[in-house]
């Protein structure tokens, strides 16, 4: 990105061999997850063009290393809140690709029965507490979840924490600042993660942020910030783990900024004409997935054959997910009001468009 501020990226010293000291099976697992996200997103894009998926659909293409690194830092007992660019997070949280794809298709076997769609993935059992479509909307609830944790348990190495993901553009909205302030004064176990892909939709960070080094934006609240190379899965994991550790043991919130690229448009319908051909080519050269594959092959962790086997396996997994979604029925009309309220009370509206306000014969 021309003119983009680049801060001191963590682990610069280890850049020569960022995977040194990591067990091979861990690295292979990270590669598998990154490949799964890549394949899932690619197929989701295709399904959108086939009108299997409606509405808005935002992909994690280019953010795979970041997503996998962040999710590797999170424990199954921690809580996650994200924005609408949430497919990869859902998959790494352990949500099955089939029900996730079915949610994108708006089918009954979707993770929320087809009520939320692409932007609103949710799985209470896996403590993935949403996917939120309003920019910044996830920050106050994530902050409140962290508040609840302080009321429900003690700080310590085994304490739960909250991770709240957002985009770079989100650091300009009021909810960001109100939330960070609350987290600071109440000593909340939460890590805010800014996925800096350089752009809101087409608006650059420099154009939108008074302090474009976004990890510094916590300084008004004395929340320590750090910037990590979002293309380095280990660097992201290490930075997030350290911040989560502080959140658990010291109840100190953190602000992590990860630097990555958005390989395609803002959403699947955006052709990104505001980018030049050269710029697009330059972005492609920063694609984290082939880079990681080559790195692992170079380090002897993988060979081309093994990498290919993983790629084929995730292709099958995602093909199965698409088939699962396609076979799943659409929600039945009589399910419309199934989740209107958690507590039923008299006179809850059940009228369909065109129905009378009171049933015929109400006064008999």
């Amino acid at each position: 990105m021309p003119g983009r501020a680049r801060g001191s990226v963590k682990r610069a010293a280890a850049a020569a061999n960022p995977t040194a000291g990591e067990p091979p099976e861990v690295l292979i697992d990270y590669y598998r997850r990154m490949a799964l996200i890549r394949e899932f997103e690619t197929r989701a894009g295709e399904m959108y063009t086939k009108a299997k998926i409606g509405g808005y659909c935002h992909l994690n293409l280019g953010e795979e290393a970041t997503v996998v690194g962040l999710m590797a830092a999170l424990r199954p007992t921690d809580y996650l809140f994200t924005n609408y660019r949430d497919h990869g997070y859902a998959l790494c949280r352990g949500m099955e690709p089939g029900p996730v794809m079915a949610e994108l298709f708006g089918r009954v076997d979707g993770v929320s029965g087809g009520r939320g769609g692409s932007m609103h993935l949710f799985d209470v059992k896996r403590r993935m507490l949403g996917g939120y479509g309003i920019v910044g909307g996830q920050l106050p609830p994530a902050t409140g979840a962290a508040l609840a944790l302080t009321l429900q348990g003690e700080a310590g190495p085994d304490a739960d924490a909250v991770m709240c993901q957002m985009g770079d553009g989100t650091t300009n909205i009021g909810a960001f600042h109100e939330s960070l302030n609350l987290a600071a004064i109440w000593h909340l176990p939460i890590v805010y993660v800014v996925i800096n892909n350089g752009l809101g939709m087409a608006t650059t960070v420099e154009h939108a942020a008074g302090e474009p080094e976004l990890y510094k934006r916590g300084c008004s609240y004395r929340i320590p910030g750090e910037r990590a190379d979002g293309n380095d899965v280990i660097a992201v994991r290490e930075a997030a783990t350290a911040m989560l550790q502080r959140a658990r043991t010291e109840r100190k919130p953190g602000l992590l900024e990860t630097m990555s690229v958005r390989l395609r448009g803002h959403s699947v319908v955006d052709p990104a004409r505001y980018r030049s051909r050269e710029e697009t080519a330059e972005l492609r050269s920063r694609d984290p997935l082939p880079a990681f594959r080559e790195q692992l092959i170079g380090a002897g962790v993988l060979d081309a054959e093994a990498a290919h086997a993983i790629d084929s396996a995730v292709e099958r997994t995602v093909a199965d997910a698409v088939a699962f979604a396609d076979a799943s029925p659409e929600p039945a009309p009589d399910e419309l009001f199934s989740y209107a309220y958690a507590t039923e009370v008299p006179n809850t509206p059940r009228a369909m468009p065109g129905d009378p306000v009171l049933p015929v014969g109400w006064d008999d």
Binding site: G110, P141, P349, L358
Partner: protein, 334 residues
């Protein structure tokens, strides 16, 4: 049975629910050390401590949204927003989050939270501090909105709201805090979603809620001595809206007036009138009339504020107009 103020009734409900259920917590500006702008939370910080009675910074979007997230993890936050005017700063969290999370995520998590906030003008607080914006929330599926008129209902409805698993907005009213009434001893839990006939009558129905229900009751008593039997329906719940109780009343009286504190156009009265027009058309002897606030940012000057707001005298006039239009003779009984 004790006679206590509306303020005390709200306080008692909070205190009793906090005593019963450790997951009930209070959040809001100046609710602890300052004991609340209207002193509803007086004494609760001392009794329950700063973790459960939490003074927040002036950040409505932040702390209302924090209540949403805490509720998702099983707490039962009761948020005080100083007045309903400031709720606009939190409207994204109320409308786009609190109201949506249960349904949009397929019932996986409930949001058992309460927002208590007073509306109402007439205190010379000028345009930004005198609004009745309840219809903004009553419009939104996923929310419940209750509007108690009496101390008894204030206690029973707040108790019900805290125990309900959905986000409930409890509309309080600046003009009602000092009003007194009988409150039964022991636990009382209102049923959200039901209107109530608070005075039976046969000649004309007056529909109100919150302060306007109290005014309607007073006006009904005045008409009684003139031989006019006014039935007063207190909506009590703005969402869900109990249309059947309203229409049943009109099916008996054939005449209806709505008294509301909000603005006329698109107001609560518009919904009530439309419901009567459709549900009880055959019973109506006259068009439904609405008595609402003049549509102007409310001026500070007393002379202008007074005439801009609906009051008992206007209600009396409009009731008489409806009675005269239907050639009602005083003392007649249907």
């Amino acid at each position: 049975m004790a006679e206590i103020t509306y303020r005390q009734a709200l306080h008692d409900a909070l205190r009793e629910e906090m005593t019963l259920d450790p997951s009930v917590i209070l959040l809001g500006e100046e609710i602890g050390i300052f004991e609340g702008s209207y002193k509803i939370t007086a004494g609760l910080l001392a009794e329950f401590g700063p973790e459960r009675v939490r003074d927040t910074p002036i950040a409505e979007e932040g702390f209302v949204g924090a209540a949403v997230g805490a509720a998702m993890l099983g707490m039962r936050p009761v948020v005080e927003i100083m007045t309903i005017n400031f709720s606009l700063l939190a409207i994204d969290q109320i409308v786009n989050h609190a109201a949506k999370i249960y349904g949009m995520f397929g019932g996986q998590t409930a949001v058992p939270m309460v927002i208590r906030t007073p509306g109402g003008g007439g205190q010379q607080l000028a345009a930004t501090h005198s609004q009745n914006l309840e219809v903004w929330y009553a419009h939104v599926p996923g929310l419940k909105v209750v509007a108690p008129a009496t101390p008894r209902d204030a206690k029973a409805m707040l108790t019900a709201a805290i125990r309900d698993d959905d986000p409930v907005i409890v509309l309080e009213n600046l003009a009602l805090y000092n009003t007194k009434g009988e409150v039964p001893d022991g636990e009382q839990v209102a049923t959200i979603g039901r209107a109530q006939v608070i005075k039976p009558g046969t000649d004309i129905t007056v529909v109100g809620y919150s302060r306007s229900a109290v005014i309607a009751l007073d006006v009904a008593a005045r008409f009684e001595s003139e031989g006019v039997s006014v039935e007063v329906v207190d909506l009590a719940s703005l969402r869900p809206l109990d249309r059947e109780t309203i229409c049943r009343s009109v099916s008996k009286t054939g005449r209806a007036v709505v008294l509301e504190d909000d603005w006329l156009t698109y107001g609560i009265g518009a919904e009530v009138a439309a419901s009567i027009a459709e549900g009880a058309f055959d019973y109506l002897d006259a068009p439904v009339r609405r008595v609402a606030a003049a549509e102007i940012p409310l001026p500070y000057a007393k002379s202008l504020e007074r005439i801009a707001l609906p009051d008992a005298d206007v209600l009396v006039r409009v009731i008489n107009e409806v009675l005269d239009a239907t050639r009602f003779t005083r003392g007649e009984s249907r």
